[in-house]
């Protein structure tokens, strides 16, 4: 039964290669997109860290998004 499932009556190579290619590409794109997002979150947090305390307070007060990016970055580390 398992060998039937793998060979799929001779069509296994076509069926499995289609599914493997699809999900491999999806996995790689997911990994790269997530990595880029984390990289920018990290760079953003680093740049905020380099600001003076006064500037930092102003940025976080004026931009809700900035504080959210910082919060989401802090959650992941």
């Amino acid at each position: 039964m398992i060998s039937n499932f793998i060979t799929m009556n001779g069509y296994g190579i076509f069926v499995w290669s289609s599914f493997v290619i699809t999900f491999l590409v999806c996995g790689v794109v997911y990994y790269k997109t997530r990595k880029t997002l984390k990289k920018y979150e990290k760079e953003f947090a680093k740049e905020i860290g380099e600001l003076s305390i006064q500037q930092k307070k102003t940025v976080l007060r004026n931009s809700k998004i900035a504080s959210k990016i910082l919060a989401s970055y802090n959650k992941t580390i």
Partner: protein, 237 residues
Amino acid sequence: MLNFFHNSYIFFLIEKLINFINSIFFVLLLIALSFALIFSPPDYLQGESVRIMYVHVPAAWISLTSFSCIAIVSILNFIFKIKNLKLITKSIAPIGLMFTCIAIVTGSIWGQPTWGTFWAWDARITSMVIMALFYLIIIVIHKFFDEDDKANKISSIVAVIGLINIPIIKYSVEWWSTLHQPASIKITGSSTIHSSMLTPLLLMFFVLILYCALIFLMKYKTEIIKIKKKNLKRYDQ
């Protein structure tokens, strides 16, 4: 209502949606794969090779929908000049290109056992390749133009020109004599696919749409962070 379009609200929503999709995605993927690879029956003519349809068809649907979205958003951008619309087109294009390539490659693999060849320059396949080129041009424009406004303007024009190709792809199997079979699922009129095959097909489509949403949201979030990062430079000066 206006609060809904506010950037910080959109950002908050993106975070929530990414977490939600991440939490349900793998369960749904397992269910969809079980239906596609185990529970669905083989075709009376094509045998087990019909299972390729469960990745090929959703990928083709997504690639067509993505391009239509880009073109419609580009037109809206021309009219209303909303800043967020530019980010949407920029985020969708790579997803569209990926699924167009998946549709072409899986279609080519499916072609070998059904048509006896991996490739034929038939109308459907050629028009899909042309769409992939349009996606590629849009991505390259965004990557290599320094001025955002100029890049958006040119990529929008390309997207609108590319929109002409969408009905060509859709009706190519009816207008020309092609190797590709006509559509089995019709929005208007009766479909010629059995429910035992339609269920896994729709399940796989739903899972891949969720995946697209996940990638889109992550890319959109990255674009917002890039803008905020640029804005931070003002405080440095």
